[in-house]
C-alpha cells in the first residue's frame, strides 16, 4: 500500500535485525517488572544511529524524516513494545530545540547528541499525562540578567535521565506584565531543579515518567527558544511530532501482538485440530489484521505529510487514536486467543496489552483527543 524506497527498506531491515540481535524476552520481563530503563540497549541503539534519525546530520542525527523514524519505531516495537517504546521516546523532547532553537543554542547544547547523551525532557504540561499543554503555573520572571523560574511540571517522558529540559512557562516582566508563553531551556544540574518519579505506570514500564519542581531556578536570557510569546505554538508543533511517533510505536505494538497470535493459533491444537482452522479464530485474526493495516496507513500518511510540511494538525490526533486503539484491541484479542497462556507473562501479549493501554493514555486519552479533533473539524460556530 505504501511503497518504500530502497533506503527505507534498508532502514527497516536494519532495525529488524538490531531488535532480533539485541532484545531478549527474559531480560524484557525483568526490566518490565523492575521498571528499569534499558540503558545498555539504548546506548547501542544510539551508537548504531537508530535514534534521532530525523534530526540533522550536523547534530549527529541521520538527516532523515519522521517517516523513517516511524519505520524504526514500528520494527523495534513489533519485536518488543516495552523496549522499543523506551528507546524511541528517549530521544523525543529535543524537537523544540532542533526546530526552533538558534544556531548558537544548538551548538552549545547539542554536541551531547554525538556522545550518545541524547536525553531531553519536554516539560510541557502541568496536568499529568493528559497532553493538555499548559503554562499556567510555571512562571519565569524576566530580569536583566536572566529568567527566574518557579513552578511544577508533570509527567515528563524520561525526565529522570534527561540532562536538559525544555520548559513551557509563562514569562512575566519584572513589573508583572504578562509576556506570554515561552519555551526555555533548563539544564538538569541547575540549582533548584528537583526531579521526582511520577510513580509506577501499569504499562510502558521501561519508560520513566518524572515530575519536575523548579524553585528559583536561574537561567540566562539566551536560553529562550525562538520568539517570546510563541512557546505554546512551538510546543503544539512538537506534540504533533510526538503524537505521530506514538502512533508508530502503537502500530508496532499492534503488529507484534498480531504476530504472536498468528504463531500461536497455527501451532495450538484443541478439539483435534489447529485452532487456526476454526472460523471464529480466523475472523478474529482478520479483524486484527484490518486494524493493524489501518493503523499503518494512518501513521505513514501522518508521518509523510509531516515530512512534507503539509500536516493537517487534526491528522496527528486521528493517527494517534486509530493506532493506539488498534494496539489495545489487537493485544486484547491476542490475549483471548492465547487463552490461559495469554495471561502469563512468558507469552508477552499481556505486556503488549498493558503498554498499548498506556500508549492510548499518553498525551491524552481518546476523550481528550476527540475534543481536539472536533475543534478543528467543526471550527467556529
Amino acid at each position: 500500500m505504501y511503497e518504500l524506497t530502497r533506503s527505507q527498506k534498508q532502514i527497516q531491515k536494519a532495525a529488524r535485525d538490531f531488535s532480533k540481535g539485541e532484545f531478549d524476552k527474559d531480560l524484557a520481563m525483568e526490566m518490565d517488572e523492575q521498571h528499569q530503563v534499558p540503558c545498555e540497549i539504548l546506548a547501542s541503539a544510539v551508537e548504531l544511529g537508530f535514534l534521532g534519525i530525523q534530526y540533522e546530520t550536523e547534530y549527529s542525527g541521520g538527516g532523515m524524516g519522521l517517516f523513517e523514524n516511524a519505520l524504526i519505531a514500528e520494527e523495534l516495537c513489533r519485536k518488543d513494545c516495552s523496549i522499543g517504546s523506551a528507546l524511541m521516546l528517549s530521544v523525543s523532547g529535543a524537537e523544540a530545540l532542533l526546530r526552533f532553537g538558534s544556531k548558537e543554542q544548538k551548538q552549545k547544547f547539542l554536541p551531547g547528541l554525538a556522545d550518545g547523551d541524547l536525553r531531553f525532557g519536554a516539560a510541557f504540561n502541568e496536568n499529568g499525562m493528559s497532553g493538555l499543554l499548559s503554562a499556567g503555573k510555571t512562571i519565569a520572571v524576566k530580569k536583566d540578567d536572566g529568567f527566574l523560574i518557579n513552578g511544577d511540571k508533570r509527567f515528563v517522558i524520561h525526565g529522570s535521565g534527561a540532562s536538559l529540559y525544555i520548559v513551557l512557562c509563562r514569562v512575566l516582566g519584572d513589573d508583572g506584565t504578562d509576556q506570554g508563553p515561552c519555551l526555555i531551556l533548563v539544564e538538569a544540574q541547575q540549582g533548584g531543579v528537583q526531579i521526582k518519579k511520577a510513580g509506577d505506570t501499569v504499562g510502558l514500564c521501561m519508560t520513566s515518567f518524572s515530575d519536575l519542581c523548579f524553585e528559583n531556578v536561574k537561567v540566562p536570557l539566551s536560553n529562550l527558544i525562538g520568539k517570546q510569546g510563541k512557546g505554546l505554538e512551538y510546543a503544539k508543533s512538537c506534540m504533533d511530532e510526538t503524537r505521530i511517533l506514538i502512533a508508530a510505536i502503537a502500530l508496532g505494538t499492534a503488529q507484534g501482538a498480531l504476530d504472536r497470535a498468528i504463531d500461536y493459533v497455527k501451532q495450538r491444537e484443541q478439539f483435534g485440530r489447529k485452532i487456526a482452522r476454526f472460523e471464529v479464530t480466523r475472523q478474529k485474526i482478520a479483524d486484527m489484521a484490518v486494524q493493524v493495516e489501518s493503523a499503518r496507513l494512518f501513521t505513514y500518511h501522518a508521518a509523510k505529510s509531516f515530512d512534507k510540511k503539509q500536516l493537517d494538525p487534526k491528522v496527528s490526533f486521528m493517527a494517534k487514536i486509530v493506532s493506539t486503539s488498534a494496539a489495545v484491541e489487537v493485544a486484547d484479542e491476542a490475549i483471548q486467543l492465547l487463552g490461559g497462556y495469554g495471561y502469563m507473562k512468558e507469552y508477552e501479549v499481556e505486556r503488549f496489552y498493558r503498554d498499548a493501554k498506556a500508549l492510548n493514555l499518553l498525551l491524552g486519552s481518546g476523550q481528550v483527543q476527540k475534543n481536539s479533533i472536533a475543534e478543528k473539524v467543526i471550527g467556529r460556530i
Binding site: 505506570t201 483435534g272 490475549i335 483471548q336 496489552y353
Partner: protein, 380 residues
C-alpha cells in the same frame, strides 16, 4: 423490587465479613501481591469466623447455609477489589465436589478442615494440551490393587501453591470414549509422586497462587475416588453451572465496584474549576456503564434465584459468564480512560483491577466456549 431476598441473618453475616475484610485483608493486599501468596493464617481466620464453605452440613463441621451467603462473600471480596482472594474457588467450586460426590468417610476426613481453613483445596482439570478441550485430558489413572497410580501434569491451577488437597481429573487409558474415561480423585499434597511446580508469573492476580502440578507414579488409595468411576465428565458438567454463575456474580460485582470507585472519584472533583466531571461525554459514559451494570445485575440476580431453586440454567449461566466478564473488562478500560493519567498508575485501584480481571473472560471456560454452548442450545 429486590430480586435477592436477604434476611437479617444474611445482612449480619455481610457486615461481619465486611469488617473482617477491611481489617484483616485490605491493608495487606499490596504486601501479599509482592509475596505472591496469601498467608494460610488468613484462610484459617476466615474459616474460624465462618466465612468458608458455608454450605457444608453441620455434620461435617459446616453451617448448612444457602447459596446467598456465597454470593455475599463474592460481592464483599469484589468490594475491596481483591480478586486474587480465591476463597470462592475453595468454598463454592472445589469443596462442593467433595460434598456432593465423596464417600461419608472422605467427607468426615476432609470437610471439617476445609471449613476451618486448615485444608485449602484446588481443582486440577486444565493441562498444557487440554484447555478449552476438556475431553482431551491426558493425565492417566491406572488401578493397581487397592491403589490408583496417577501420571501427568496440570497447569494454571489456582490455589496451586497453597493447596493441601486437590480434586484431580484423570483418564482411564483403557477406556476409549473420552466422556466415560475421566474420573475425579482426591489427592493430598505432599504425598510421594505429587509435586507442585513453580508459581506462574501472570499479568495480575499476583497473590493468587497459580501453579503447575506434576504427578509421577503418584499412588493414592482407590477409595479416594469421587462418585462413580468414569463419571468425571458428568460431575464436572454438573458443577460447572455453579462455577460459571460464581464467575458471573464476580464479573458483575467487579464492574460495579470499578464503576462506583470512578464515579466517586469524579464526584469528588465536581467543585473544581475545569473539572472533567463537568464533561458531558464523561457523564454519558457513566450513564451507559450504569445501565449495563443494572441490566447485568438483574439477569445475574435472577439466575441466582433460579439456581437456588435447583433449576437447570446451564445456557443462561454461560450467557451471564461471558457477558459480565467481558463487561467488567470493558468497564475497567473505559474507567481508566476517564481517570486519565491517574488511571495508568499502579497506585490506582482501577488500574490494578484492569490487570486482575483480564483473566475472567478466559477462566472457567473461555467466553468463546460459552458462546459455543449457547449456540448449541439454540439448536445448532
Amino acid at each position: 423490587m429486590e430480586i435477592l431476598k436477604y434476611s437479617e441473618d444474611h445482612n449480619r453475616f455481610r457486615n461481619r465479613l465486611r469488617k473482617l475484610l477491611e481489617i484483616e485483608v485490605a491493608p495487606h493486599i499490596d504486601q501479599w501481591d509482592k509475596e505472591l501468596l496469601i498467608p494460610k493464617p488468613v484462610w484459617q481466620k476466615m474459616g474460624q469466623e465462618g466465612f468458608l464453605c458455608m454450605s457444608v452440613a453441620p455434620e461435617y463441621g459446616g453451617q448448612g447455609l444457602d447459596f446467598l451467603y456465597s454470593v455475599i462473600v463474592i460481592e464483599e471480596v469484589a468490594r475491596i477489589n481483591y480478586f486474587s482472594f480465591f476463597i470462592h474457588l475453595h468454598s463454592d467450586i472445589v469443596v462442593p465436589y467433595i460434598d456432593s460426590y465423596a464417600s461419608h468417610e472422605l467427607k468426615k476426613k476432609y470437610l471439617p478442615g476445609c471449613v476451618s481453613g486448615d485444608i485449602i483445596t484446588a481443582v486440577a482439570m486444565t493441562e498444557p494440551g487440554a484447555g478449552s478441550d476438556l475431553a482431551s485430558i491426558a493425565t492417566t489413572a491406572v488401578e493397581e490393587g487397592d491403589e490408583i497410580v496417577l501420571n501427568g501434569s496440570k497447569t494454571f491451577i489456582s490455589n496451586g501453591v497453597n493447596c493441601d488437597l486437590v480434586v484431580v481429573a484423570a483418564r482411564n487409558p483403557q477406556e476409549e470414549n473420552p466422556y466415560s474415561a475421566i474420573s475425579l480423585y482426591l489427592v493430598e499434597a505432599g504425598i510421594p509422586g505429587f509435586k507442585k511446580g513453580k508459581q506462574l508469573a501472570k499479568m495480575g492476580m499476583h497473590s493468587q497462587d497459580t501453579a503447575e502440578l506434576f504427578f509421577t507414579n503418584c499412588r493414592i488409595p482407590a477409595k479416594n475416588i469421587l462418585g462413580q468411576k468414569g463419571g468425571g465428565f458428568l460431575m464436572l458438567m454438573e458443577k460447572l453451572q455453579q462455577e460459571r454463575l460464581i464467575c458471573a456474580v464476580g464479573g458483575i460485582w467487579s464492574a460495579k465496584s470499578i464503576l462506583d470507585y470512578t464515579l466517586d472519584y469524579f464526584k469528588s472533583r465536581i467543585g473544581e474549576e475545569k473539572s472533567i466531571a463537568r464533561s458531558q461525554a464523561a457523564q454519558f459514559a457513566f450513564a451507559e456503564m450504569s445501565t449495563q451494570v443494572s441490566l447485568g445485575q438483574t439477569f445475574v440476580d435472577n439466575l441466582v434465584v433460579r439456581h437456588m431453586e435447583k433449576e437447570q440454567v446451564v445456557t443462561e449461566t454461560c450467557m451471564a459468564k461471558y457477558w459480565t466478564t467481558d463487561l467488567a473488562k470493558d468497564i475497567a478500560g473505559r474507567c481508566i480512560d476517564l481517570l486519565g493519567d491517574f488511571g495508568a498508575m499502579e497506585s490506582c485501584p482501577v488500574a490494578k483491577v484492569y490487570k486482575d480481571i483480564r483473566v475472567m473472560p478466559i477462566f472457567a471456560g473461555t467466553n468463546e466456549i460459552m458462546k459455543g454452548i449457547i449456540a448449541k442450545s439454540l439448536g445448532f
